[in-house]
């Protein structure tokens, strides 16, 4: 048994028993962990709103090798990203990213790059960055830094290079670009050259410069469901946060797949 102290972002909280709560958090040094917060339901004193989803906290927990769950001993609020609460769309997009990290990051596997990405993403939303643009940047970068690509060098089914082709499509099934001769049966999404170049930049720019990128109207329309569908394809499940984003009209439920 070891007592650890770490920085973390709260991903999800659930009631566990009459008095306890189960907290899933993404820690900087240990990756995703789930812990029991004893008494967090009954007595609000010990964990007083330091365990809210999307909050940045300093946690102290007891790691127990015999159990998958850790025991959360203390949690101190570092940044509650309070401004998110004043705008349902921003909270919706913040929750979407926490949910994606919850499902895509394996337990107990540190990923400092992903931690920094999630933290900076929440910070961007907090200071008023456009939620959808910021979310598209997050999704592109998250897929890339978790090893999911996607491949944007040229057609993944033949040798055609990006600069030699004209009409390009994105195949969710292949996890990359396909040329016009190989789009059949791939449920392809049309993508313009501008969008491909933007996505490549979002994969490679240093994190501090990522947030300057802008998805203009066309790229935004092309990528809106492409990236979400790619995430859902890898997860093999839907994301709950999308329901709220649809309901408040932040996302229109039409798809641009051809």
């Amino acid at each position: 048994m070891a007592i650890r102290r770490d920085e973390a972002i709260i991903l999800r909280t659930r009631d566990y028993s009459e008095s306890d709560r189960l907290i899933t958090f993404f820690s900087k040094n240990q990756g995703q962990l789930t812990g029991i917060a004893k008494g967090a339901r009954r007595s609000k004193k010990r964990f007083v709103h330091t365990l809210e989803p999307c909050s940045h906290v300093a946690v102290t927990y007891m790691d127990r090798p015999t159990s998958g769950l850790v025991r959360l001993d203390a949690s101190e609020l570092k940044n509650a990203f309070i401004a998110l609460r004043s705008d349902i769309a921003r909270l919706g997009y913040a929750s979407l990213s926490c949910e994606i990290v919850l499902h895509m990051s394996p337990e107990r596997q540190a990923n400092a790059a992903l931690f920094a990405l999630l933290y900076q993403y929440l910070e961007q939303l907090e200071i008023g960055a456009k939620p959808e643009n910021t979310s598209l940047l997050f999704q592109t970068r998250m897929l890339h830094s978790s090893g999911y690509g996607p491949n944007l060098q040229g057609c993944v089914l033949c040798d055609r290079q990006l600069r030699t082709g004209e009409n390009w499509f994105f195949s969710i099934l292949q996890g990359g670009l396909v040329c016009k001769d190989h789009k059949h049966g791939q449920q392809p999404y049309p993508v313009s050259m501008g969008t491909v170049m933007l996505l490549r930049q979002a994969q490679q720019l240093p994190l501090s410069k990522l947030w300057r990128l802008r998805f203009q109207r066309q790229s935004r329309q092309e990528c809106r469901f492409l990236l979400l569908d790619l995430v859902r394809h890898y997860l093999e499940k839907d994301l709950k946060s999308l329901k709220l984003l649809y309901q408040i009209g932040a996302l229109k439920s039409t798809n641009n797949r051809i």
Partner: protein, 199 residues
């Protein structure tokens, strides 16, 4: 194989589904009921089925009721002001404290993106539909100050203001008997924002 006869086993299983009751406690309660008088166990069974048969949800405010409208909605002296709460338990607490003398509206939850709960899953539409017929001029939002509760408060306040209703929210800050030194940053911030002229 269970060590209990089937009917006792069924009772234990049912009891263990109650909040806060584990298998051990359920077994203890079941054995107690087995030993208790016939009158007691029959009266318990009847009262459980009566609650399910007779108690419903008020069609206007979503409080508990034994009629179409709840007692509060039927009371003509309680009008004009509406207090919006998260769940029935919150309404009962305010009633018990005698803290409010108008009518209520129970949302049946808060906006919770991670649980897939959006505006359409709460009784927000029904709230807006009450404003005109009941000539409501003022709404007090008494939603718990969690992150999700605060988001819900801001969201509903925006909708109500568009309808020309005056909106306020309950104060948040240092609890009675509290101490500034031991209060966290978010609460202190909210307490400062919510200050008022001293009397």
């Amino acid at each position: 194989m269970s060590i209990y006869p089937p009917s006792l086993e069924r009772l234990i299983n049912n009891l263990s589904k109650l909040p806060g009751i584990g298998q051990k406690t359920a077994a203890r309660l079941a054995l107690y009921l087995f030993r208790a008088s016939r009158e007691f166990s029959e009266s318990l069974a009847t009262s459980i089925s009566e609650v399910k048969k007779e108690i419903g949800i008020c069609s206007r405010c979503f409080n508990l009721t034994d009629d179409d409208l709840c007692q509060i909605c039927r009371d003509p002296s309680r009008d004009g002001i509406l207090c919006v709460v998260e769940e029935v338990g919150d309404l009962l607490a305010l009633e018990k404290a005698g803290a409010f003398r108008g009518r209520y509206h129970v949302l049946q939850g808060v906006l919770a993106p991670l649980d897939g709960i959006g505006p359409e899953n709460l009784r927000i539409k029904e709230l807006l539909q009450r404003l005109q017929p009941e000539s409501i001029k003022e709404v007090i939002l008494a939603i718990n100050p969690s992150a999700e509760g605060e988001t819900t408060t801001t969201y509903i306040a925006g909708l109500l203001r568009k309808q020309g209703v005056s909106v306020s929210q309950i104060a948040r800050g240092i609890p009675m008997g509290g101490d500034l030194k031991y209060t966290d940053a978010v609460t202190l911030k909210r307490a400062m924002e919510g200050r008022r002229e001293s009397c």
